[in-house]
Amino acid sequence: MRIGIDVGGTNTDAVLMDGTAVVSSTKTPTTANVSEGIARALRDVIADSGINTETIDGVMIGTTHFTNAVVERKHLTPTACIRLGLPATVCLPPMVDWPLDLRDIVGGNAHLAHGGHEFDGREISAFEPDEVRDIAEKIKAAGLNAIAISSVFSPVNSTFEEQSAEIVRSVIPNANITLSSEIGRIGLLERENAAIMNSCLRQLAARTVDGFKAALDELQIASPFYISQNDGTLMNADFAKEYPVLTFASGPTNSMRGAAFLSGLKDAIVVDVGGTTTDIGVLQHGFPRVAALAVEIGGVRTNFRMPDTYSIGLGGGSLIQEDPLKVGPRSVGYELTEKALVFGGDVLTTTDVIVAGGGEDIGNKHAVSGLDAGLVTAVQARIMEMIAIAVDRMKTSATPVPVIVVGGGSILVTGEIEGASEIIKPDHFPVANAIGAAIAQVGGECDRIFSLAELSRDEALDQAKQEASDRAINAGAAAESVDIVDVEEVPLAYLPGNATRIMVKAVGDLVGA
């Protein structure tokens, strides 16, 4: 059996799954100490089902903790950055486009050195070990041991990053080093930004992951545990300590993967209605469609493959203004169970209107029996209109598509959605995100520029697929289960020799799961 946990800003959800069946589920408030909330959710979900903890094969945790640390500028370790590429790249040094407050916290300790590659694999300049050693000494003298290393076109050739890491380790034995080639794609500043953020989150990651482990130990759960990544796949605990940035935006991914699983659909629109916002995303072949543009985290540009979601200010706690009629974006949020009319409060929320309309029986429905029927109809219509516009925005073709509705605020969806072929509210919809975590697979990616003058297109594709599969297996996938789920080829404008960027993603089931 597997346990999936989603630690959100407001709630920590947990589900216990036996194969494809949901055995039990729970929703508890997220606590300041994330591990406590997880321990409570685990206790609830286990007690509820009465199972023996020895039958648990794995615990999968999705968390927004690391994203929040960057957004709130908390628990970040000062980090140095070494970039290899001189004489190129001088005009835009590392962290150049960071918000100043964040740069102050992280330290702005940046160094440039020779090295780097051209797009076709030639060296920009020769690697100079002594230069890197001198830089390492300076970093050591500054008292830093968190370091990010980037090199121009390292997704094509990462040797210089690796050689530098070795030298830095010889100078700073306890160095905590992130190589940009391990976590990012082509686009130097964005990839380097991600590498720096990763290094500055590692201490927090170690503490947090150890906290998760302690929570599991306390409940005598001996199974391995995993953390979910933004692409809907898992990493094991050790890997998560190394690469905390890969958890960014895993929340929306989990809820969309959960929606796919619960509905059995692989291509659909997912509408995740929460307390304050509704996130709309697109499932393609069972995975979230990723955003095409740079994504900012806490004001820093990155090029992670984030799910392409569109959010609107509509949720179960959204406030209703009567004249002129307005629904959201203001919300009572987590205070819904105190402030809404049906819970004895004095604020008119979307939940009150749905109860008054007879759609749900929540709290004290007599508290809303006096609501004007015209208002109730108008609000319900407005809610559906807001959702329809947002769904329409995310659609990939003019043909009607199925819409899966999940999340705690799903009761808001009461009618038809224009452009939807059907509306599916699967069982267990409030905990779709925890289910998404529980069912996650492990994956690997390859993103490189191939010159099709030297290789045939098929050879290049095979190489890229092999690389992606190897990475999936290294991440813990069972070799026989690895599947290529995404191949993207982008011919590069203005370059000769049919230079083509190939991006491949492979996923597989966890070994033993």
């Binding site: 590429g85 004489p87 190129a88 790249t89 001088v90 005009c91 835009l92 150049v96 486009d97 780097g116 051209e118 797009f119 076709d120 030639r122 920009i124 300049s125 121009v152 076109f153 082509i186 686009g187 130097l188 500043l189 095409a292 543009l293 329409d392 925005r393 995310m394 659609k395 990939t396 073709s397 003019a398 520029i449 011919p491 590069l492 404008a493 203005y494 370059l495 000769p496 960027r501």
Partner: protein
Amino acid sequence: MIQSVTLDDTAAIAVGAGILGTGGGGSTYLNRLRLNIELRKQGRAVSVIRADDVPDDAVVCAVGGMGAPTVSNEKLQEGTEIKTAVRALEDHLRREVYAIVIGEIGGGNALGPMITALQTGLPVVDGDSMGRAFPELQMDTFMIYGLAPAPFVLADTHGNVSIFKRIGSAGQAEAFARSLTIEMGGSAGLVMPIMSGADMKATIIRDTLSLAKRIGEAVLDCRARSIAPAEIVAALCNGEVIFTGKIVDVNRRTVEGFARGRLKISAFDDFNKQMEIDFQNENLIARVGEDVLCTVPDLITLVSLEDGEAIGTESLRYGLRVAVLAMPAPKELKTPEALAVVGPKAFGYDVEFSPMAGDLL
């Protein structure tokens, strides 16, 4: 007209250059960052002069970046490539350059020349040779009106400089510059053409830097007041909003190194009322049914309905809510000589150019 560019102006100029980019011209993000850094470092503004302030016998040169955006975003420049090229040119000519000229006002190349101006201590001329963005070197008013493509200079990150003393045609300059750029690692600084003040004044499209700033300021002002900017921008450019709606289809392929494609936009109130736009890096032809509403060289730019940000052809996708701006080309692009190079037929479309009324500025 503007006399200088300071840190307070770069946001507006970047937005305006994006809108004049007609879907191409590349992102303004990195060059704006670089310009801001250079402005802070130098502690002074970019000095901007009118084209007519340049003496007839002075030497001026247009500058820009050459190469694939994917490469430029990864192998960032050293930063003084173009300055090195300008200095090498001065040595070669034994003449001092009087001012820097912007080759292309649409997109990221609008901002780069101001960095060179700051580094060399030279002023930049308010104007450019496209009034928008185009994909190739020969598609500018300097070449169209017969200025010599040679000498031209390319410089790379290592300080290597190549001066072409003679070249047969602008088309050959394009071909040689491309292949040398590849050898230089896929991105290079370009100085082309080099011309006298008199020749520049006879061929340049005047005041387009000021226009970019005016457009950008209008957009930023609309954002601050939460109103849709499209109509206001169109009016500033003597153009009009020819369609609003949602992108419903994007069909693209890469042919001979250029992105070509067609997009469809549906009106909000009637799905069957659709605009089709053909693009090749830039937006080229806008149609509703059989009616051609606007063609190159007139400007066709898609802006995001809410915030007026220009949408590049590489970022087009289903669902974006857009306004389509059509703006008349500057008069310099509408002569028979110009249309032979930048008219719809030059891009392979069997469509007559039916100009919008008026001129860009």
